[in-house]
Point group: C2
Chain length 146, copies 2
C-alpha cells in the first residue's frame, strides 16, 4: 500500500461528492465529535443542527474541523481533514436568504442524515440552526494498492 | 424517526462490534480528527499509529474523544461518543507485554485499517506507537423508524 498526499482539487472533489462528515470541536481542551450532513459550496461547508452541546461549544470556540472519508478497503481509502471556522447563519429577516440557500444545498440529498435531523420547518417549536464552516485549510491522504 | 438515548451496555456493544472510529484531539483550541482502527478491551480502546501530528497533540493534551457509528439509513443509525484519556504504551522492555496484548487485540481484524498502517514490526525503522484511550464517559443515540 502506498500513501499519497492529495492535491487541493482532489480534496475538494471528495468533499463535494460525499455528504456525511465528522465535525470536531473542543471546549477547555476536551474534544467532541458528531457526525453531520453537509454540503460544500465554494469555500464553505453548510450544515444545520438542533441546538445542543456542539452548538454551545462552537459558539465558545469557533476553531473546528471536519473530517470526510471514503473507505473502500484497508488499502483503498481517501480521507480529508478541513480546518476552519464556525459561522452561525443569522435567524433574523436579514439572514433569511442565506438560510434558504443553505437549506437548498442540503436538501439536494434525498437521504441526508444528521442526529436529530428532521426537515427544518419555519413553524417548528424547536427550529434548526443553520451554520457553515469557512474552510481555512485542508489536507488529504489517499491509500492505493501497490 | 425517534431518537433514543442508549444505555451503557448498548454503547459497549457498538464499540465492541465495530473496529473503525474517529479520534478527536485538540491543541490550543484547534480540533483535529483522524480515522483509526481500534479494539475494545475492558475499559480501554487500543490502537496504534505511526508517529504524527495526532500523537504530538495527544501528548500535549490527553483529553480526547472517539466517535463510532453504524449508519444504515438516515432513519436507522447508531452513534456513540467516548470521552477519555490518551495513554501511550511504553516502548521499553517493561512495556513489551502490554504492547503485545494491544497487537493481539488489534490483529484479530484481518482488514483493520489506519492511515499509514502497516503491520507493526519490531525491526521497523519507523516503529508503530501503541496507545490506548481510557474510557471516562460515553453516550450514544439510536435512531429508529417510527
Amino acid at each position: 500500500m502506498n500513501l499519497l498526499e492529495m492535491k487541493q482539487e482532489e480534496c475538494l472533489e471528495l468533499l463535494s461528492s460525499e455528504r456525511i462528515g465528522r465535525l470536531g470541536c473542543s471546549k477547555d481542551g476536551q474534544s467532541y465529535i458528531v457526525p453531520i450532513s453537509y454540503s460544500l459550496d465554494e469555500n464553505y461547508l453548510y450544515s444545520f443542527s438542533l441546538d445542543g452541546q456542539k452548538i454551545e461549544w462552537m459558539r465558545t470556540n469557533s476553531a473546528v474541523c471536519v473530517q470526510v472519508d471514503r473507505l473502500v478497503a484497508h488499502d483503498d481509502w481517501t480521507s480529508v481533514i478541513v480546518c476552519g471556522r464556525y459561522e452561525e447563519l443569522p435567524d433574523q429577516i436579514g439572514g433569511k436568504h442565506i438560510r434558504e440557500r443553505a437549506w437548498s444545498l442540503l436538501s439536494r440529498h434525498a437521504n441526508w442524515w444528521e442526529p436529530g435531523a428532521v426537515k427544518p420547518m419555519t413553524h417548528s417549536p424547536a427550529p434548526h440552526l443553520f451554520y457553515r464552516i469557512r474552510i481555512e485549510s485542508m489536507t488529504g491522504r489517499r491509500a492505493i494498492q501497490k
